[in-house]
């Protein structure tokens, strides 16, 4: 979206004033990876989030933001270079298990495990990227899936290291029993991730990602080293999965092998796709809508045990979005903004 087309409905004076401050403001805000409108929404939402004191909602929102951040990281590969990381949960689980094992076996503090968790996920991503990405998307999807299955089998069977199905107990990030610090941490992680990812996709590398995603051959002809950028992209996305895995481990406190299950990947993927490909924030928005509403569905007494129903809804939503509205929520929001004349404020410089 260029954002340069002013709506005819806008009064002339407002438009002039807007244009006066527009360039400077947008450049300033854009340095932080936000569009003016996006920043406004975040600033409006923050006080609301930070003054929340209902424990149930705090937990739900923490989960929602966590999934949203995962969906953003997932979107970096699927939305920009068109590769589906079908073992995404395993990268997250790897980060979680690395920090968990370090804490359990070596008695490390939670924050000490942060870097190893990110590093492990990134290295695995790099290796898999080197192995499969030159071969095309379906190989990467299958291979990450195979590796995820193998990793799940390892975590179940290597009991001396991971304690298998009994669960690995992990020190929590905070000593207090309050949920609020976790929400705060998650918001910070989410903002850091968004900042990093959105600056990345606006950088030279980001242009390369987009070019590759649209037409790999054309990108290669114009001198872009497609494999290099694809592997870079893949590695970064995996590193973020490890990052969030680290938070997850110290948030939940117990790790069992199903964390790595394909089902988790599917959930992240569905959220990311419903959010819209190649938008980053779409996934976050989708998670903020979907996860609380799914929680509501769960809380209806008659449906309380129906995890299946929830996943079934996920599948159905995904199919409908895939076929009939491939742009997802972000496309919907953009088109509404365009109609109301706010379009140019929603595009970052």
């Amino acid at each position: 979206m260029t954002g340069k087309v002013a709506s005819p409905k806008m009064p002339v004076s407002v438009e002039a004033a807007a244009q006066l401050g527009e360039g400077g403001l947008r450049r300033l805000v854009g340095k932080f990876g936000f569009s003016p409108l996006g920043l406004l929404v975040v600033l409006l939402a923050l006080p609301f989030l930070l003054t929340m004191n209902d424990q149930y909602w705090i937990k739900t929102l923490t989960t929602a933001i966590m999934y949203g951040t995962l969906a953003m990281a997932f979107d970096l590969t699927s939305g920009y270079i068109g590769i589906v990381n079908f073992g995404f949960a395993a990268f997250m689980g790897l980060g979680a298990y690395v920090t968990g094992c370090l804490c359990w076996h070596l008695g490390w503090e939670p924050w000490q495990g942060l870097f190893p968790a990110i590093f492990a996920a990134a290295v695995l991503g790099l290796l898999l990227g080197l192995l499969t990405i030159r071969l095309g998307g379906i190989f990467a999807a299958c291979m990450t899936w195979f590796v995820a299955m193998a990793m799940m089998s390892v975590t179940s069977n290597w009991v001396s290291m991971t304690r298998g199905a009994t669960g690995l107990t992990i020190p929590l990030l905070f000593e207090s029993a309050e949920n609020f610090p976790y929400l705060l941490t998650m918001i910070v992680i989410c903002l850091i991730s968004y900042l990093f990812l959105s600056l990345l996709v606006r950088s030279k590398a980001g242009l390369a990602f987009q070019a590759i995603g649209q037409d790999q051959e054309a990108a290669a002809i114009s001198g872009i080293n497609a494999n290099y950028y694809k592997i870079l992209n893949f590695t970064i996305s995996c590193a973020f999965a490890g990052f969030i895995g680290w938070f997850y481990a110290h948030y939940v406190g117990v790790l069992t092998p199903p964390v790595l299950h394909t089902r988790v990947t599917v959930e992240i993927m569905v959220i990311s796709y419903i959010g819209g490909r190649g938008s980053l924030w779409g996934g976050l928005l989708a998670a903020l809508i979907i996860i609380p509403s799914m929680e509501q569905v769960k809380s209806i007494q008659a449906l309380s045990n129906l995890m299946e129903l929830r996943l079934l809804l996920y599948g159905l939503l995904m199919i409908l979005v895939m076929i009939y509205y491939p742009g997802g929520i972000s496309e919907l929001v953009k088109s509404i903004l365009k109609k109301t004349g706010l379009g140019k404020w929603s595009a970052a410089s």
Binding site: L135, I138, T262, L316
Partner: protein
């Protein structure tokens, strides 16, 4: 004698398992080769086949038919039932996507099949619950019982024979009939095929149904080995994809051989490696093999260049 016995056990396990892997992989390869769809709902066809088979078998067992009729009905009915389901899915989802999709077809269909897989799995779980539904023996009879002396489980042997029959019939169908020729034409060049009067829509539905048919037959004929349950499809799906990558995507002849290779690999892993590597040895060896293949011969053992490697 012990050595001979060991070799015999090893080979029979390998081949009997391998036949079923081939049957699954052939359907997957067909869909990938003709429609360029990476079908991740293939395991769910297997699952549906097992459920349909179970219900038909329990219903027909009560009728007092001759001993061998209920299993035959069960397998045929399951295959046809899944074929219908697969056809309906093709008509309602892939056709709609084909009309709208602008690029990235392979990735879009991959995601679509994932959605279908999630729906079928959880739908089955909702409708049929978490109970495992299986039978202890499908094929009964004295002649079959004597097979046990040779260490051959009768149900597995019959399932293997069914697999051979189905694959043989399927290969004949592809090569000798005009519809089969049309399918091969579409897999080579869609535009060219439609120019000479092949009805693309019909071929697509037919191909998807056929792959469902094969997977459904596989699910029903292994009912006594793997009881029907909602999430049973993941393993066969994993194996079939393994075979496809091993031999090269979309190669039907290759996937027949690939299924047998996988059977041998697995038998090897369980017989000789599990003492060192524990119960994860199968996964381990499969992963090691696939990484080697991808490093040395990324297009698979029998590989031609992959149709859409660029995507």
């Amino acid at each position: 004698m012990d050595v001979l016995r060991e070799i015999w056990d090893f080979m029979s396990t390998a081949i009997l398992r391998g036949g079923m892997y081939s049957l699954m992989a052939v359907g997957l390869a067909l869909v990938f080769g003709v429609m360029n769809i990476a079908n991740f709902a293939h395991g769910e066809f297997y699952m549906l086949g097992a459920y349909f088979g179970y219900f038909i078998l329990t219903a027909t067992n009560k009728l007092g038919l001759p001993q061998f009729v209920p299993p035959i009905l069960c397998i045929l009915g399951a295959g046809l039932g899944v074929a219908v389901v697969a056809g309906v899915i093709e008509r309602t989802s892939f056709r709609a996507l084909r009309k709208r999709s602008k690029g990235q077809w392979l990735m879009n269909t991959f995601l679509l099949t994932l959605g279908i897989s999630v729906i079928l799995q959880n739908g089955a779980r909702l409708v049929w619950g978490g109970k495992y539904r299986g039978v202890t023996r499908m094929w009964k009879g004295d002649a079959l019982n004597s097979l046990l002396n040779f260490g051959l489980p009768p149900d597995r042997l019959v399932a293997f024979l069914i697999a051979v029959l189905c694959i043989g019939g399927f290969v004949l169908f592809l090569n000798k009939t005009s519809t089969g020729r049309a399918i091969r034409a579409v897999s080579q060049d869609e535009v060219g095929a439609s120019l000479v009067g092949v009805n693309l829509g019909f071929i697509h539905t037919l191909v998807f149904s056929l792959s469902g048919l094969l997977a459904g037959i596989a699910g029903a004929s292994l009912l006594s080995v793997t009881p029907a349950s909602a999430f049973m499809g993941t393993m066969p799906l994993y194996k079939s994809w393994f075979v496809l990558i091993l031999v090269g995507m979309g190669s039907i002849g290759g996937s027949i051989v690939g299924g047998l290779i996988l059977g041998i690999l697995e038998a090897f892993a369980t017989t000789y490696l599990s003492q060192f590597l524990g119960s994860g040895s199968q996964d381990f060896i499969c992963l090691a093999v696939i990484i080697t293949i991808l490093l040395i011969k990324p297009n698979g053992i029998f590989g031609k260049a992959v149709k859409s490697a660029v995507e």
